[in-house]
């Protein structure tokens, strides 16, 4: 795996991230990863084989100490190491919120540019496997609100490979949100293809309405397209990929053209990042807007409760119809 493969290879979303990290570790001895259970491959297998290859000093098994995992990553970054920080699930990253918001994000500014905090904090998001209220959240809007942070939400194996590499190379503190339901999804990964931060991806071209989504929402859109569920309606569909900085140019170009913008995300709709995009598009283009997110309820355990928080093709179609009727 030392040589660059020019042709695309089939890979899972988890393996694609593992490959990206492995390549970064081969290229730079200062790249390390730290978090709980990494030696065993990480809870989702996204670190499989790395400790055997790079040793326990570089793939570091840590105590269950989220504050110190995140805080020490800040100190490591200031002292010349480039840490990948595993938070296990985003819900646990809340135990390290001071270290993320007050330390990692603020360091460069409040010390007048003396320091840099190049780290990637991986915090898997989303509803997965009946995991209930404390293991299922999507909190991208929290971090998009904080100056100093980059926020990334890859939806495919290719993007998980490419965006993780770009995040590690960015030199900024990056909140990197993989979706837990995507770990096993297969896709082609071309390792020569760079995926820059802040650039969205077109999933479909159309002129009837614009749909902006990311993470798990991408799969819902693809499912609807494959089913022909939109019928004669031709949506312009954008996978935002990076939440901050978001691809305003791509979204605005589309919104001007279609005059209608639907934003869809698994996160709670109230004060979600979709609201920011909808408001921005309405301000800048005068387009009609519609939001689709989860109701403001904790994710429930029983299937019927969990489904209330999930996105679905039916919900997407209902939101599309509502927007078209506006």
């Amino acid at each position: 795996m030392n040589t660059t493969i020019n042709t695309a290879t089939k890979m899972t979303y988890a393996d694609a991230a593992c490959a990206a990290l492995r390549e970064a570790m081969l290229a730079d001895p200062n790249v390390i990863a730290l978090g709980e259970d990494l030696g065993r491959g990480g809870v989702f297998g996204q670190y499989r084989g790395l400790q055997a290859e790079f040793g326990a000093d570089r793939i570091i098994d840590t105590p269950i100490s989220e504050s110190n995992i995140m805080g020490s990553a800040v100190g490591m970054a200031l002292a010349g190491v480039r840490p990948i920080v595993e938070m296990r699930v985003i819900d646990f990253a809340l135990c390290a919120i001071d270290e993320i918001v007050n330390q990692a994000a603020k360091n460069r500014f409040m010390f007048g540019g003396q320091g840099r905090v190049p780290l990637v904090a991986r915090m898997p998001i989303g509803i997965w496997s009946a995991s209930a209220a404390q293991h299922s959240q999507s909190l991208e809007a929290w971090f998009a609100h904080i100056p100093g942070l980059v926020v990334v939400t890859p939806a495919t194996p290719q993007d998980n490979y490419g965006l993780l590499k770009s995040s590690m190379a960015s030199g900024d503190p990056v909140i990197y949100m993989e979706h837990k339901e995507l770990w096993g999804t297969q896709g082609d990964v071309d390792r020569t293809e760079a995926v820059p931060l802040g650039v969205g991806k077109k999933l479909a071209d159309g002129n009837d309405l614009t749909i902006v989504t990311w993470s798990r929402g991408v799969g819902i859109c693809m499912q609807a397209l494959e089913q022909g569920a939109f019928g004669s309606v031709k949506p312009d569909i954008i996978d935002l990929r990076t939440i901050w900085p978001w691809d305003r140019a791509m979204v605005m170009e589309s919104a001007v053209r279609t005059g209608r913008l639907l934003v869809m995300h698994e996160a709670v709709q109230v004060a979600g990042f979709g609201a920011e995009i909808a408001a921005s598009a309405a301000e800048q283009t005068g387009c009609k807007v519609q939001r689709l997110g989860s109701p403001r309820i904790p994710v429930g355990y029983a299937q019927v409760l969990e489904n209330e928080s999930r996105l679905s093709v039916d919900k997407l179609l209902a939101a599309t119809q509502a927007l078209l009727k506006q």
């Binding site: 200062n30 390390i32 840590t62 100490s65 504050s67 110190n68 100190g75 002292a79 010349g80 460069r108």
Partner: protein, 336 residues
């Protein structure tokens, strides 16, 4: 303790004391708190100013045993540590005055004073927040097989926060090159710490994690220096973390405009008699150093601090565009 070494330590303490005194005067009226109004004329130092007056011996005694390439994290009460690690008083004062020529370009002020060029990785506005950062810096030094060490300063109040436990455990588990320094001034902001703390306190908590620990009189710079010397040598030899518990006293209130009237006047009076500068002067006299020599040091330091004040007051302010700089590279700082 040679007279020469003690004079160096005394000079460092005098620099911290005079810096704090000057900053305190410059801050009067700077913040409306404790029932006091902000003055009509804007103070030169605005916002909360946490003074380390009375605690100079801990900063001086520890940092005198650090090399320039060693690293340090501090607290919200961090001027003393910053000066002692080798920062320049003028650039520090410029930062306290919010000027573009300050260490942080006027973006941080007193609470975030830092000089990365001398390994001082920052004061911190959040109690105990420097502890995980310090353990990470020490971890990085170990990963990179770097011979230097880290000093991590925090107060007794920090020992009731989770990162204290997490950081000490971490440092001991990975056997990191770090000196934890608990500056125990026995007060958490404005509430006595013992009443808020279960068990025997900071020292016992460090011992519970198996970290070799020492008590020291934090107002006796010679004692702090001797203990820190031994502990830093042990750490440099690969001995893992050490914990220094230095008991001292905060002469001022929580912030400069806080008169600290919640403290017993007799307690304050007694503490002032144990001023670390008085203790050091007595020790210097016993070593045969004349009071004229000591006074000469104080006079030299006064010139340094006067220069810092004059330079800071004349220094330029940041410009509006600076508010958008030094935030991030990806996407930079933008209004939208």
């Amino acid at each position: 303790m040679t007279p020469h070494r003690l004079l160096d330590l005394y000079r460092l303490m005098s620099r911290i004391r005079q810096f704090e005194n000057a900053a305190e005067i410059a801050s009067q009226g700077g913040v409306a708190a404790w029932g006091l109004a902000a003055s009509a004329k804007p103070a030169l130092v605005r916002g909360p100013l946490h003074l380390s007056t009375g605690q100079e011996a801990v900063a001086a005694g520890v940092c005198h045993n650090m090399e320039r390439a060693d690293l340090l994290t501090s607290t919200h009460r961090g001027h003393g540590h910053t000066l002692a690690k080798g920062a320049d008083a003028t650039r520090m004062m410029c930062e306290l005055f919010g000027r573009a020529t300050g260490y942080n370009k006027g973006k941080g002020g007193s609470m975030h004073i830092a000089d990365f060029s001398v390994g001082m990785l920052g004061a911190n506005g959040v109690v105990a927040a420097g502890i995980p950062i310090a353990t990470g810096a020490a971890h990085a030094l170990k990963i990179r097989k770097h011979p230097n060490i880290v000093a991590c300063f925090f107060g007794d109040g920090a020992t009731n926060r989770g990162p204290f436990l997490e950081g000490l455990n971490w440092a001991q588990v990975y056997q990191l090159p770090i000196l934890f320094v608990c500056e125990d001034n026995r007060i958490s902001a404005t509430t006595p710490t013992p009443a808020m703390t279960a068990g025997a306190g900071a020292f016992a908590r460090a011992q519970a994690m198996g970290i070799p620990s020492e008590h020291v009189d934090g107002n006796d710079v010679a004692a702090v220096d001797a203990t820190a010397h031994k502990m830093t040598q042990d750490i440099r030899a690969g001995g893992g973390p050490r914990f220094l518990h230095a008991v001292t006293y905060r002469f001022k209130g929580h912030v400069s405009v806080d008169p600290g009237t919640y403290r017993d006047a007799k307690e304050v009076e007694a503490a002032l008699l144990k001023d670390p500068l008085i203790v050091a002067r007595a020790r210097l006299a016993s070593l045969g150093v004349s009071s004229a020599d000591i006074a000469a040091i104080d006079a030299q330091v006064k010139l340094e601090i006067d220069t810092a004040l004059q330079t800071a007051e004349a220094a330029p302010w940041p410009v509006v565009a600076d508010a958008y700089e030094d935030i991030m590279t990806t996407g930079a700082g933008v209004w939208l």
